[in-house]
Symmetry: C2
Subunit: 210 residues, 2 copies
DNA sequence: TCCATTTTGTGAACTAATTCACAAGGGTCT
DNA sequence: AGACCCTTGTGAATTAGTTCACAAAATGGA
């Protein structure tokens, strides 16, 4: 049933879920594709098409039952479980991410932090004690890590990446501005803030000349 | 010449530029679409198609002259100038961004930081003194701000956003997990880290069941 | 029960993006 | 100069993604 799901569909599913959870808290129990579309900045047809890729979750004439659809979406997105996450790089961006509660709320639990700086190794951050990057393999295995977040300088990435992949981690979120090369069964997502600014720069430059 | 440039084309142009600058430093002075494609994870045809949307920058049989193409790309992307950026929200993620040198290197200069916390207002961060969010309009105007980065809690966003737009800023980079509603001449880019993790979660859940 | 109304689910039509494939241009070697 | 590579630039073909449009439920009121 689930072949060829596009990146944009997945992104929209996350949006739908976020809105459903927001609306559920208000006490509404049903929502039409039209309403969901308005709230997420897309069209009703798109909402229905996206959902229909995974099944039939609505009632004709009525719309979608919010708790049921939310639960379906959580299952589709794999959010009906906790993901064990390791943070590699406890610098500025790494520590901001560590303290952010939004990840845990969605089921992403940071169970290990690794760094190369010996003055950081051994520090206690909440429940986590910072590990030495030399112990990467040991820590990722011991903590059954599913996902690694890379917040280290670009030049350190290739080496660390190879080790992370070698130990069997198949999901990576990368903050360094480098193109990652990984085997086909490993998924990488990039967060590239400079790229977003450059896209803004492009958009602003375009309209200016009109 | 420049109508209907897709989001993905713009993203790739940024990648091309990054690689060109990296390769230029090594002393190579020409690069084929094939090589550029390999380094950026796309195809040679895609590289040529992307570039051809803006002009003819290559030499047949030889490839692209690196400094010239880099310069063309900088102009296309609007990176042949400095952009004046204001940071709204000097919290965890905001301060990490402020200290990050990667923005300035690309011509994005943070000329103002605004916060609502009176214990932060008046603090000096490098060359910048933190302003009170109450003075938003005054500061954005006085500093000729082109782009605003929002690193404030989601619930504060709508109000601040309206004020930012009203004062004439037309580029916004948003870190809060909310859908922004803006007039058509304003461009918004979102950095949504939870969304990326959810996309990873989806990808990992898919392959697991095979 | 029947009719009016609402909204889903989904093929078909359309639009956008990518890949193919090749003629034309440019360089080099003899 | 001519033969031989190499690589661009770009229409055409293909593939992917979105929007349209409507029959098929489901509900509620007369
Ligand atoms: N700070 C930002 O706002 C920002 C924005 C965009 C991108 N980034 C990217 O994020 C990454 C981290 O940036 P930052 O500002 O947090 O840098 P930082 O210097 O504050 O932190 C990097 C951390 O990584 C550690 N480290 C270095 N090499 C390591 C290795 N081999 N193994 C383990 N740990 C290692 C360092 O000890 C340090 O603690 C960089 O690639 C940067 O380009 C940062
Ligand atoms: N920290 C992260 O890693 C992270 C990750 C993803 C998304 N985000 C998002 O980024 C935003 C900021 O997160 P954070 O972790 O830096 O939070 P934070 O609480 O550390 O910082 C928020 C800052 O905004 C200021 N602020 C609050 N209301 C304001 C207003 N109306 N005007 C001006 N300033 C105001 C606060 O005083 C504070 O300094 C949030 O929307 C969060 O969801 C953060």
């Amino acid at each position: 049933m689930r072949r060829n799901i596009s990146e944009s569909t997945v992104r929209r599913l996350s949006f739908y879920l976020r809105i459903l959870e927001k609306v559920e808290a208000v006490g509404i129990d049903t929502l039409s594709s039209e309403k969901l579309a308005q709230r997420t900045g897309t069209t009703a047809a798109q909402v229905r098409k996206d959902l229909s890729l995974f099944g039939s979750f609505g009632k004709r004439g009525l719309g979608y039952a919010i708790p049921q659809l939310a639960s379906e979406l959580r299952e589709i997105l794999g959010l009906d479980r906790t993901w064990r996450v390791a943070l590699v790089g406890g610098g500025r961006i790494g520590s901001a991410l560590f303290e952010y509660s939004g990840f845990r709320k969605r089921g992403f639990e940071i169970v290990a932090v690794l760094d190369a700086d010996s003055s950081k190794v051994g520090q206690r951050w909440g429940k986590v004690v910072l590990s030495d990057i030399a112990d990467l393999e040991k820590v990722l295995t011991a903590e059954s890590v599913d996902i690694v977040i890379l917040t280290i300088p670009a030049e350190s990435v290739p080496d660390v990446l190879d080790r992370v992949v070698a130990v069997g981690v198949r999901g990576i979120l990368n903050y360094a501005p480098v193109q990652l090369r990984v085997p086909g069964d490993v998924t990488v997502k990039d967060v590239n803030m400079v790229l977003e600014l450059e896209a803004l720069s492009f958009a602003l430059s375009q309209t200016k000349g009109e």
